[in-house]
Symmetry: C2
Subunit: 165 residues, 2 copies
């Protein structure tokens, strides 16, 4: 379902790109095709695990240029091929509630993200990525981390990558 | 999907009852048929709201014999008619992460619950209710609240109620 967008709690990102939804879907849902573009360079995605069904694992590990690693683990909530992908880090695989909020040192926050793909023009896509937070603090933290630039760079990398296919 | 059962984190409850899955499903998924049985007496369920799809609201309000009210709000994760119903209080409707964990005064804990219905014998059901927690503390709290007795009494009320149809 489409969650309600709350400008105080949520961030959204929209772009029109000249590759079709099916290629973007493939790049989002297959580990070997996610890793090349998922992190804005010079960061890297060094691990990706995907079980593409509601409750299935979505696990990535990012690596900073200094070699520090940052795991992200969550599960999918909605999987509608070539159209909509929703996942959260508030639930672990199998829908178990996450303990992430107990570990204040990490500065981590819960979110639910949705990527929506709409066919646009001749073989293009309207790409909409929305992230829902539990509170304004989480939303602000995400914004300050560079949500807009981060998703923008990653999407540029994605488009460049799928054009090599 | 079937989550992994962890005896340190999870509670499960199994009964064989002599009413069929379809009637139990109806009693779980329609507000007017949920309210009569959902709380062990002398507690009452004074409000129920159900939007039966992944991400849809599952909201109930329980009332103690002294008149105190206790809201529970969450969303559905899996809706497989007459077979399996999964919901969580870790996500609000539309899959937004819940702030419940921020409010320590309530003593609330996150859980994901699944009710599974298996046809059994001649018009009966094997009824399995499993609740997954983020940690042992949440699991213990739930156990101490009387999980086993609570679900047992509620199920007895459910069976007695649907037999009146």
């Amino acid at each position: 379902m489409t969650p309600t967008f709350d400008p105080k709690l949520d961030l959204t990102f929209e772009r029109f790109v000249d590759v079709p939804p099916a290629l973007i879907w493939k790049a989002w849902t297959q580990p070997e095709h996610l890793m090349p573009w998922f992190c804005p360079l010079p960061w890297k995605t060094i691990h990706a695990e995907i079980d593409l069904r509601p409750g299935g694992i979505f696990h990535t590990v990012m690596q900073s240029p200094e070699g520090q690693t940052f795991p992200n683990i969550g599960c999918y909530l909605e999987v509608i091929e070539n159209e909509r992908l929703t996942w959260t880090n508030a639930l672990l695989p199998g829908f178990r509630p996450s303990r992430l909020h107990q570990d204040e040192e990490t500065g981590a926050f819960f979110f639910t993200a949705t990527v929506e793909l709409f066919p646009h023009g001749d073989g293009g896509t309207r790409y909409v990525a929305t992230v829902h937070h539990e509170d304004e603090a989480g939303c602000e933290k995400h914004r300050a981390m560079g949500y807009e630039q981060g998703w923008g760079m990653a999407l540029e990398q994605l488009v460049a990558y799928v054009k090599t296919w």
